[in-house]
């Protein structure tokens, strides 16, 4: 462990704000990257299912 206690870990010397801001933004960007294809896949499946249903009704 490079820090003596948890408060020091949060403080990161004098650079707590910088380090945690960088990691926070990274977490957001990565989470958005993971969420986007999951939501898109769900929307696509619903859309395709609807199209198939409509075609069946028409024929």
């Amino acid at each position: 462990m490079a820090f003596d206690n948890f408060a020091e870990f949060l403080a990161m010397g004098k650079h707590g704000a910088y380090v945690w801001a960088a990691y926070g933004i990274s977490l957001l960007v990565i989470a958005a990257n993971i969420l986007a294809p999951i939501l898109r896949q769900r929307a696509l499946r619903i859309d395709i299912q609807r199209k198939i249903k409509r075609e069946k009704l028409e024929s």
Binding site: Y18, A22, Y23, V29, L44, R45
Partner: protein
Amino acid sequence: MFATIKRLYHQFGSPRYFYDMTGKMLPWLIAGAVLLIIPGIVWGLAFAPPDYLQGNSYRIMYIHVPAASLAMGAYVMMAVAGVVVLVWRMKMAEMVARSIAPIGASFAFLCLITGAIWGKPTWGTWWVWDARLTSMLILLFLYIGVMALNMAIENAQSAARATAVLSIVGAVNIPIIKYSVEWWNTLHQPASISMTSSSMATEMLIPLLLCIFGFYFLFAVLLIMATRCEILQREQRSNWVRQLVENN
């Protein structure tokens, strides 16, 4: 060896094979990403020693360097996919190239923003117009250009050909980014690690390597997930996609 590569190339050129195969690969790639990134980040944040010059602000490196490496690696991959699109007209390469752009853009953005946050306590400024930073910003703009071009052209195949040309031409920026710290005087420090050597302390280097490899696994996961959406969208008229969607 060559025969195997050729067979794999043709197999993965089929959207259905790609979809099935990557579905099986995904859990392993996710496990790889988690098992590399989480120990890498925890080690880098809490256990690696502070830098004797920069103190603790250097810990931003464990995000910044993997993001930078990935933004450039993804661009090269997009340009290679572009060559395949133009030369062999492979549909699967069109979908992969299209899926890379937003992921690459987000990592280029991440590299720039973490770099700016790291720059403030280290250099005393968020931003300078020097060679490394500017060429990296151009990389982000190239990604955005590719995305805009993809969205502007209705026909997916025409869009893929046009963006392939843009991404191949833009690839000239990649060696400029890489060697900018050697060719020009910049505020940015030169590379501390290469394929064969490292000037970094081992306790700092190992978590960094974990993070870099982990980010590549993460990229594989993100790319596969995005490409699978692209396949569903473009192949929605085919029987196998209809069956797949109907069955669950």
